[in-house]
């Protein structure tokens, strides 16, 4: 039944491509990368065993072109395609085309992707599987008056959401009746342009929910287990920036409840592979189904750190048709893990992206520190893709030790040439509410309403000021510097040292 995969083509770039290549290495599987024009010497291209050019820099002309990728997989005789996350990871027709070409698509079946990718169908599936969902209404086919009636029925504030996709696009919080019609229209327009699907639906707006999700693994033999939860409440623009496992509020009992709910919807949907069932958790710890991500998540490493599993390897075993090696009772969460997504962005200006060349790059290391980088020294952060630099994942015995180690690792991180979110993460690691674990998806907007993340104390500013004054002085007097720099050069060779010493002795003896 199981057939060993010998070569995997990775239909992605950046850190997730590197991550998958590492798993291939560990498994003795050959890896083939694909790359666009501006990724010619990118990290994933250097890391892979083989690499193939697939087109110009914009992803619509390279990483998103189904045919180029399948053609390349055929050409290099790959047995399987791993889509990573983003790009083609949740595209059912790409998955279909892989299967038609006789190539394993590492992910769920196309029909599962299609079913769960439609937020309305996913909501129905959840309801049928007995999961609690946020009160809401499908307003497809309703005129504006009936839709408004439905919204009033749910009660304002109400959330307008796109049926065709996520990531905050086509989503509007409507606080009152008079704004409803306009919000509905603009959400539908945005949804149409983002997903080619203008359908929207209504959901009750929870004011301060936590985002907590369950990682699952399901094999082709009907086995399905959950690997604990991840709390991903720290978000900006509906995108996660800090994730952790376990959640500070999830008890053993709640974990089992949510875990069983996740397994139940996975079974209903005929799920195969690694997947994530996302929930909103209210302040009373009641939880509501949100959606299913039918792929590896960005934040999968925090689960790896506390379970000891390698999720990419597990994906490959499942794709090979092997039964899961673990039953639910084998899964124990040990310690605590936090992930900080390091982006090339300016947090103080509302996280606008920053592009350029990494003229300085040094990753932190030491106890508990894992870095999944998508870049190297001198790498470009191109404008065409997600501006993520790396993921910093830190493990500790408990949440407190993990936060302390994360702070230390962030202080060791060096990024030069582009702006980064390192200082932002440092601010969060010192935030009292964060340290207490008092989180919600509105954490950032509540705590930092003006994007005022840069809380510099006078001590640091004084040192910066001294450094700048010195730098000016040295630049004004380059000649003095070139004289002193010879003093500063350490004498690290024997002969130099002995010569200096004999000179000293000689002088001394006069």
């Amino acid at each position: 039944m199981t057939e060993k995969i010998k070569k995997i083509l990775i239909a992605n770039r950046g850190e997730i491509a590197v991550r998958i290549i590492r798993a291939c290495r560990d498994l003795g599987i050959e890896s083939a990368a694909v790359y666009s024009e501006c990724d010619k010497t990118a990290y994933h291209v250097r890391m892979a065993d083989e690499a193939y050019y697939i087109g110009p820099s914009p992803s619509t002309e390279s990483y998103l072109v189904h045919e180029r990728i399948i053609e390349t997989a055929r050409k290099c005789k790959a047995d399987a395609v791993h889509p990573g996350y983003g790009f083609l990871a949740e595209n059912p027709s790409f998955a279909e085309k892989c299967l038609e070409a006789g190539i394993i698509f590492i992910g769920p079946k196309p029909e599962t992707i299609r079913l769960l990718g439609d937020k309305l169908l996913a909501r129905d599936t959840a309801l049928k599987a007995g999961l609690p969902v946020v009160p809401g209404r499908d307003i497809g086919g309703l005129d504006i008056a009936s839709a408004l009636a439905a919204a009033t029925d749910i009660g304002f504030p109400v959330l307008v959401k796109a049926a065709g996709g996520g990531g905050g696009k086509g989503m509007r919080v409507v606080t009152s009746e008079d704004l409803f019609a306009e919000s509905l229209k603009s959400a539908a327009n945005e949804a149409a342009s983002a997903f080619g699907d203008s359908r929207v639906f209504l959901e009750k707006y929870l004011p301060r929910p936590r985002h907590i999700e369950i990682q699952i693994l399901a094999d082709t033999h009907g086995n399905c287990i959950y690997l604990g939860e991840r709390e991903c409440s720290i978000q900006r623009r509906h995108q996660k920036v800090i994730e952790e496992s376990p959640s500070p509020v999830v008890t053993e009992a709640l974990r089992e409840q949510m875990g069983r709910a996740a397994v139940s919807i996975a079974r209903s949907a005929g799920y195969v592979g690694a997947g994530t069932v996302e929930f909103l958790v209210d302040h009373d710890l009641s939880f509501y189904f949100l959606e299913v991500n039918t792929r590896l998540q960005v934040e999968h490493p925090v689960t790896e750190m506390v379970t000891g599993l390698d999720l990419v390897k597990e994906q490959v075993f499942i794709a090979e048709g092997a039964p899961l090696k673990y039953i639910q009772e084998d899964i124990k969460l040990l310690g605590h893990a936090i992930e900080c997504r390091i982006y090339a962005e300016k947090p103080e200006e509302g996280f606008v992206p920053s592009t350029g060349t990494l003229t300085h790059y040094r990753i932190p290391a030491g106890p508990g520190v894992r870095v999944d980088s998508g870049v190297l020294l001198n790498s470009q952060i191109p404008i065409f893709y997600d501006p993520m630099i790396a993921k910093l994942i830190v493990w500790g015995k408990d949440r407190r030790e993990t936060i302390d180690r994360t702070r230390r690792a962030l202080q060791e991180y060096r990024v030069g040439g582009v702006d980064s979110t390192i200082g932002f993460h440092l601010t969060i690691m010192d935030n009292e509410k964060f340290i207490r674990g008092d989180l919600s998806t509105r954490f950032l907007e509540e705590e930092y309403p003006d994007n005022d993340y840069h809380r510099l104390d006078g001590e640091v500013l004084e040192k910066a000021a001294i450094a700048v004054a010195l730098d000016s002085f040295i630049n004004e007097r380059k000649i003095i510097l070139s004289q002193t720099s010879s003093h500063n050069r350490p004498a690290c060779g024997w002969v130099t040292y002995h010569r200096k010493n004999s000179l000293r002795q000689f002088r001394g003896s006069r």
Binding site: H360, I383, A465, L470, D471
Partner: protein, 170 residues
């Protein structure tokens, strides 16, 4: 002895340097410290202030002499001027910072999706100026301070590189 007026992260410092071989005595806002600085690369140095160790990266950004200092995981913007010139400028009632920010440049490369203000218009701090699409995201660029728009150099659909002139304030 060289004396500088430094603005770091919005805070003002009066800094006087006394140079000795291998070290400096530095008077910061009246307090004296001992400083050693060792060059690590073009932009980086290892600085000791009273034996406290700091790895510092300093880069010139823009054309107005503004510096970006990266230390302890933080980005700090700074300007430096000769102390006496700064005093004269102050007496004349001019601000170094405002002089610097009349010309607004693209903070990132991308495509202009929308221009939300017109020449002559008054803008408040935080008011959206334009929308740039970059990295598959719409980025709303907001005013950093109240000002009046003098000129707008871009229009909808234009591609801009980082540093391209966007608009001028007065």
């Amino acid at each position: 002895m060289p004396r500088y007026h430094v603005n770091a992260g919005g805070k003002e410092f009066d800094i006087e340097l006394e140079y000795h071989p291998e070290k400096y005595f530095v008077t910061v806002n009246g307090r004296k410290v001992e400083v050693v600085s060792r060059k690590l690369s073009e932009t980086r140095s290892l600085m000791f202030v009273d034996n406290k160790s700091y790895e510092v990266d300093i880069r010139l950004v823009g054309e107005n002499g503004e510096r970006k200092v990266f230390m302890m995981g933080l980005d700090i913007m700074a300007t430096v001027e000769n102390y006496h010139l700064a005093q004269m400028r102050r007496t004349a009632g001019l601000s170094a910072v405002s002089a610097m920010e009349t010309l607004f440049k693209a903070p990132m490369p991308g495509m202009v999706l929308e221009v939300k203000v017109a020449p002559g218009e008054k803008v408040e701090k935080g008011q959206p100026l334009l929308v740039i699409e970059a990295m598959k995201m719409e980025n709303i660029i907001k005013a950093k301070a109240p000002a009046r728009v003098k000129e707008v150099f871009v229009k909808k659909g234009m591609s801009v590189e980082r540093g391209d002139k966007i608009m001028e304030f007065e």
